[in-house]
């Protein structure tokens, strides 16, 4: 309980920046919402892989059902977005700030890359697939989380 006297210095050290990669430092609400997001994100990815293979190999045989099959990962993707949205809305305020800064870096990097690379392509750079900026966004998002967590969590120093 809060009224029981305990050593206040026992748990004062900031966790290292990577502590939030796990769930130990999360609140119970964040843990639950993150689990929910992870579930939908994994379901989306699995459905996308399955639908891609099915459409590629049996697309003609499936006929109109292929459209339904392609709609499944879209619906699961929307569920993943909604669950991430809910996670963010109810997240611990420091975690929300870290995510906001990471999203800004991820989205901004993806947008700049997408627009700028067209120019580089004209100069002779290899042509990229339209989904490649997604990789830039995800990597920049991860880097953004690392940078923001280091900034607010102090890199493990006391």
């Amino acid at each position: 309980m809060i009224d029981s006297p305990r050593n206040p210095e026992a748990e004062t050290a900031p966790a290292p920046w990577w502590a939030w990669c796990g769930t130990r430092e999360l609140t119970a609400t964040d843990r639950r919402n993150l689990r929910r997001f992870n579930f939908w994100a994994l379901a989306w990815m699995a459905a996308w892989v399955a639908a891609t293979f099915a459409v590629r190999f049996w697309g003609e045989r499936l006929g109109p059902a292929a459209w339904l099959l392609a709609a499944v990962p879209i619906l699961l993707g929307v569920a993943a977005i909604v669950s991430y949205w809910q996670f963010l809305r109810h997240a611990d305020e420091l975690l929300r700030l870290i995510q906001l800064e990471a999203l800004a870096l991820g989205f901004g990097s993806g947008a700049v890359f997408m627009v700028s690379y067209r120019l580089l392509e004209r100069l002779g750079a290899p042509t990229l697939d339209t989904s490649d900026p997604l990789l830039v966004m995800v990597v920049a998002w991860a880097i953004g989380q690392w940078l923001a967590a280091r900034r607010y969590m102090g890199g493990g120093r006391g």
Partner: protein, 74 residues
């Protein structure tokens, strides 16, 4: 923004985890506020004020001149 959280917490022998649990935030949030790395939201600042039974301005020093209660000049 400087604050007196560490002192107030020590007076009551509360851990950061206990304060965090009481306010529904993570321990890292309390730690970041305490060390001045992060300025809390208004609801969290009010929550801290209520928890420690002190007005907000006695806990937080927006001028960053240092903890008011520890200033012998008053």
């Amino acid at each position: 923004m400087k604050n007196r959280l560490r002192v107030l917490r020590a007076e009551r022998a509360w851990s950061q985890a206990e304060v965090a649990e009481r306010l529904g935030v993570s321990r890292q949030t309390i730690n970041a506020v305490e060390t001045g790395r992060y300025d809390p939201s208004l609801p969290l600042a009010f929550g801290l004020a209520r928890l420690f039974a002190h007005p907000i301005e006695e806990i937080f020093d927006p001028d960053g001149a240092g903890p008011r209660a520890e200033d012998p000049a008053g």
